[in-house]
Each structure stands twice: as C-alpha cells, then as structure tokens.
C-alpha cells in the first residue's frame, strides 16, 4: 500500500528566510507525487508534481521539490518565504491505476501548517 508521511505538523519561519517542508513516501511502484496547498476555507491548489521525469521539480510561487528515491523523500522548499505562503501544505501520492482495486485516487499526508512571521 502506498502512503506518505509529513514529518512536521507545524513549521514556523520568518519572512524572507528559507522554507523546508519534509515528506517521505512509501510505494511499491514508481510513484507520482504532488504537493498541494490549502488556504483557509479554500480548496486544494496544486503546487507541483513529480511523474518520473526530472527529479528536481519546479512549481508555482517559487516552490520546488526534489525526488530522492534512495531516501524515499520528496521535500518541498522555497528560498524565501512570503507572508502569503502561510497555509496548510499536503504531500500526496497518486494510487496507480490497475483497472480494479486501484483507481488513481490521491493519498494525502496529514499536512504541515506553515506559519510565516513578519
């Protein structure tokens, strides 16, 4: 079974400093991995995705993530935090399609709350 573990439930940074949100995954397959962001009372917005192309993935709003198979990690980073980055972040793995028990559903981590201090 596939799963993701977000190693920090809460991360606090100062505006202008780097952001690191950690995620480890478990998968029997070559995984498809995503990071989504959720602002209060809003739906989920895709930040970036990894689908077995380049291991360093660039996303929106200056975020990027590196897929490391040897470490089974997919950590999210941003060089300089902005106040508008404060939100909930989810690391997600996609269940691969096999036509029967697996239908491409997303499996979410527990989330990391990012706080950005002025």
């Amino acid at each position: 079974a596939q799963s993701v573990t977000q190693l920090d439930s809460h991360v606090s940074v100062s505006e202008g400093t780097p952001v690191l949100l950690r995620c480890n995954y478990s998968s029997s397959y070559s995984p498809s991995l995503f990071w989504y962001v959720q602002h209060p009372n809003k739906g989920l917005q895709l930040l970036l995705k990894y689908t077995s192309a380049a291991t360093l993935v660039k996303g929106i709003n200056g975020f990027e993530a590196e897929f490391k198979k040897s470490e089974t990690s997919f950590h999210l980073t941003k060089p300089s935090a902005h106040m508008s980055d404060a939100a909930e972040y989810f690391c997600v793995v996609s269940d691969p399609w096999d036509g029967s028990s697996n239908t491409g559903k997303l499996i979410f981590g527990q989330g990391t709350t990012l706080q950005v201090k002025p």
Binding site: Y36, G43, T51, G104, K105, L106, G109, Q110, G111
Partner: protein, 118 residues
C-alpha cells in the same frame, strides 16, 4: 474558465437528517472524485467516477453514504441519517485524465462543502 464548483459551501443539519452535496466539475472532465476532510486531517478518498460509472466506492464509510453522477457531469453525494461523525469538509475533484493517465495529471479541487451535524 470555471473551476470545480461545489454547493452549498456550508451546510448545517440535525442528526438524523438527510443531506445532499453537489459538485459541478470542470466541463469535459471525465474523472470525478469525492474526498472527506476531517478537522485537522488530510483529505481521504470516498469514491471515484469515470463518466457516469462509479468505478471505486471503497472509501465510503457506511451504507448511509451514496454518490451518483447520472449523466457523467454533475455529481451528488448524499448522506442519509446523518451522524455527528459525518461533520467534515467534503471535497470534489475532477480530472481530464482517465485510467492510467490519472497518475500523471493533477486533480482540480473545488472549495468544498463544510458539513456540520448538530
């Protein structure tokens, strides 16, 4: 263009009442997913439709939960005889992809329906 639209945004119901939650996916999107997000948790899969066919309902927590998508576009999630543990945000997502393509394409989420059972 319009994104995924969910209605109502907020729903308050008394325990034992039936509720119906609506999802309008992005036009032309074949795949539609429902997820349940409890407070402070990541979303969890409920069910998946490919066009009008419900291919996976393994995440529905009980037989009180029922989903349909009769014409392959709008979907309704119905919960009968609601219980307090049904209180959550219900998210709908759609994707242009289907089958094996689902793992490589993002799912587009609506803002959700926040359901509160008193």
């Amino acid at each position: 263009g319009a994104g995924v639209s969910q209605s109502p945004r907020y729903k308050v119901a008394k325990r034992g009442q039936d509720v119906a939650l609506r999802c309008d996916p992005i036009s032309g999107h074949v795949s539609l997913f429902w997820y349940q997000q409890a407070l402070g948790q990541g979303p969890e899969f409920l069910t998946y439709f490919q066009n009008e066919a419900q291919l996976d309902k393994s995440g529905l927590p009980s037989d009180r939960f029922f989903a349909e998508r009769p014409e392959g576009s709008v979907s309704t999630l119905k919960i009968q005889r609601t219980q307090q543990e049904d209180s959550a945000v219900y998210l709908c997502a759609s994707s242009l992809a289907q089958g094996r393509g689902l793992g490589n394409q993002p799912q587009h989420f609506g803002d959700g329906t926040r359901l509160s059972i008193l």
